[in-house]
Amino acid sequence: MTTISKKLASNTSGISFKSLSMANDSMKNVLLPLIGVACFLVIWAIAASNIQTSLGQFPGPSHVMEQFGTLYQEHVAERDKATSFYERQEKRNAERVAKDPNYQPKTRAYTGKETFIDQIFTSLTTVLSGFILAAIVAIPLGIAIGLSKSLNTAINPIIQIFKPVSPLAWLPLVTMVVSAVYTTSDPMFAKSFIVSLVTVTLCCLWPMVINTSVGVSSINADWVNVSKVLSLPSWVHIRRIVLPAAVPSIFVGMRMSIGIAWMVLIAAEMLAQNPGLGKFVWDEFQNGSSQSLSRIMAAVIVIGLIGFLLDRSMLSLQRILSWDKDSAKR
């Protein structure tokens, strides 16, 4: 790498030192990751060709790429089936109305399978809803804890005990409680969605609470004094002093939380067979077909990519909202 950049540097001797170093930087930012990925692919391909499982060879990069194509085609085929499903339904409803004028025709959702792409969106919706719910609870709670020493002392033990609990330990409890409590004849959300959502919320609550409270309690004393001197009402104090000062640490908590939320969700979906990418992985494992491993690998890559994108989007959100731009560079 260094030799390449040296060669390039010697070729572009006419350019000023500053722009050269900038070009060098951006090249590093683009080239180095590319080289990393290329090396990984090569190692993967070599390793894969040497692993024999009872389901055949471990999938290499090319198999997985192929599988992405297949998964997309399956999605398109399923959409076609859905269209004809709705057409048939419309026809049937019309026929019935003709026979039975009192009948209120109803359009039912497509009953076919969820494709890989559907599962991605299911998982994304679940993780975001769970995360937002957690944030709505955690941030005000964190601020309250940060502002009041005695509240902090009171609640801290609970947080410390629940923070390290694995999501999978919560899952059976959540499942039973949701089935017992959430009983309506025409539910707006599926039970499985609520179960996944609550599990995600329970697990990603704690980092946000802790980081928010730490951020709030460690505000520069001068600023607090300014607020006291101006005798700001407490709401204004929170809005003008506390929140802006705590934003960086709130976001640190949120980034940790969304990472946890995503990991928890996949595990919960696998265990509880709730719709989503986790279920996709588990189903494929159960199928045990010669395609299963490459389909699971495709899912692994998508899960990783989405996790990465979630983290990045949280970071850009932080850049937009935070006054301390430095804290958002990592």
Binding site: K113, N287, Q291
Partner: protein, 460 residues
């Protein structure tokens, strides 16, 4: 609440009147009312014998009945049963023993009924390569050097004894305590003089390993090959495609199929809760109609539709195994040892021989095996067996469905030749691997015929 009930009542009067009116105009077509519940969710376990459900969906038989069905794979038999009990599922592909056991309160207690028997045969017993090597020396050979079938457990007995001498437990897997597979594996082992162990639920022992020479434990069907490969169990009894999967993976050898243990034995049933059937009578008949049509389609023209069925089943949302693996058993053949592929045209029967009719005698056979192995821990009179069977198996619903299919000209009288004169008891059945004859009308007499197993008067 009252007004709601009243309006419901009004509605039902309206619809009754409407149905009555249209019945006059087109006497046959409208005899059966519209389904009360149109959106249904059915559960299944990834096994080829769930085919009638998949076919009824894919071929539009459910939609023809005005039913919009979602089909969902379940993690294991327990989850599936709980789903039907708590209403998460409206119905499911079940082990024949499940509705029976639930009704007599063994395991989870609930009232589950079955209007439709899903298939005959379809299971196999597979042992690991290591065990097969040791078994093979005890099996007589045919002229072409291949082992003589059916292979009896006599060939396994010396192997089990050798493990016992070395102090090693001999573990085998089956799919559920009240599954056909448990009883078939036990039947086969006991017929070869190997004791599979007793249950003693009244003493809190539900492991089924009392006095056992072979220790049986539960593993969900799709995980069987992986568990065998890991060495946790030395063999298993499971439905297809998980025996053929072992052959394809090269990790085990199917030694016997249930067709050889008991020719044309009843396998899965379609289970719904009794409350569902009472609350939604039209829906119940309609879903039975769709399933009967699907079963007929599967066996039609001498299995001509099977390749298409295999293609559907190999989709990842149904069974999901490779086409070749599923096709091996679904298209009239079965591969034992790699390369030893034999013709078994009746390996999976979905419609022939009245396969879909819920026979009382089939239910009673399961009850006799529950008594034999101690799951029913005390003596019961013959009349009790009969009562339980009549409570769970519902040929009345089946007959209504069959009748209306004929009325609607969707099927013919020839499809249901003996159905309408059926008393629910098959003639004494002779095709068991140990030659013992089963007569469903005399369960206690049958139980006393076995040399291994509890008899009348014995309690543990």
């Amino acid at each position: 609440m009252l007004t709601k009930k009243l309006s419901k009542f009004n509605k039902s009067i309206c619809s009754a009147v409407l149905i009555g009116c249209s019945a006059i105009t087109s006497l046959t077509a409208q005899a059966l009312g519209y389904p009360e519940k149109e959106e249904l969710k059915f559960g299944f376990i990834k096994l080829t014998d769930m085919a009638p459900i998949a076919i009824a969906y894919e071929k539009g038989f459910f939609e023809d009945e005005g039913l919009y069905v979602t089909i969902e794979a379940q993690a294991n038999w327990k989850v599936l049963l709980d789903g039907v009990i708590d209403g998460r599922l409206d119905g499911a592909h079940m082990l024949a023993g499940q509705p029976i056991a639930a009704s007599i309160g063994y395991g989870t207690s609930a009232e589950i009924i079955t209007p439709f028997s899903m298939d005959l045969n379809g299971n196999g017993i597979t042992v690991s390569n290591e065990i097969w090597k040791q078994m093979k020396v005890n099996i007589p050979k045919q002229a072409d050097g291949k082992p003589v079938h059916p292979i009896k457990a006599d060939a396994l007995k010396p192997v089990v004894e050798k493990y016992a001498d070395q102090g090693k437990p001999f573990n085998m897997g089956m799919v559920f305590p009240v599954s056909t597979h448990n009883y078939e594996l036990r039947y086969w082992l006991a017929a070869g003089g190997i004791h599979p162990g007793y249950y003693a639920p009244h003493k809190g022992d539900t492991s089924g390993q009392l006095d056992a020479e072979v220790l049986l434990s539960v593993t969900p069907p799709p995980q069987m090959p992986a568990t065998l490969e890991a060495g946790t169990i030395y063999g298993y009894c499971v439905g297809e495609p998980w025996n053929q999967q072992a052959v394809f993976k090269g990790i085990g050898v199917p030694v016997v199929i249930d067709y050889e243990i008991w020719k044309d034995n009843p396998e899965k049933v379609f289970g719904i809760s009794k409350t569902f059937a009472e609350k939604y009578p039209n829906t119940t008949i309609r879903l039975t109609r769709a399933l009967i049509r699907a079963a007929k389609w599967l066996d039609e023209n001498n299995n001509a539709n099977r390749p298409e069925a295999v293609k559907i089943l190999s989709q990842s949302n149904y069974v999901g195994a490779d086409y070749d693996v599923i096709a091996n058993s679904m298209t009239g053949t079965f591969e034992y040892e790699k390369g030893d592929k034999r013709a078994v045209p009746d390996f999976n029967v979905f419609f022939r021989y009245n396969a879909t009719y819920p026979y009382y005698s089939d239910a009673i056979w399961y009850l006799t095996q529950m008594r034999r192995w101690g799951q029913i821990h005390e003596d019961k009179p013959d009349s009790w067996y009969k009562d339980v069977a009549e409570q769970v198996y519902r040929p009345d619903i089946y007959k209504k469905a069959a009748k209306s299919l004929i009325d609607d000209k969707l099927m013919t009288k020839e499809d249901f030749v003996t159905v309408f004169d059926e008393d629910g008891y098959r003639n004494p059945q002779t095709h068991f691997i140990d030659g013992i004859v089963y007569d469903g009308t005399k369960p206690n007499e049958y139980i006393n015929k076995f040399s291994i197993g509890l008899k009348s008067g014995t309690t543990l």
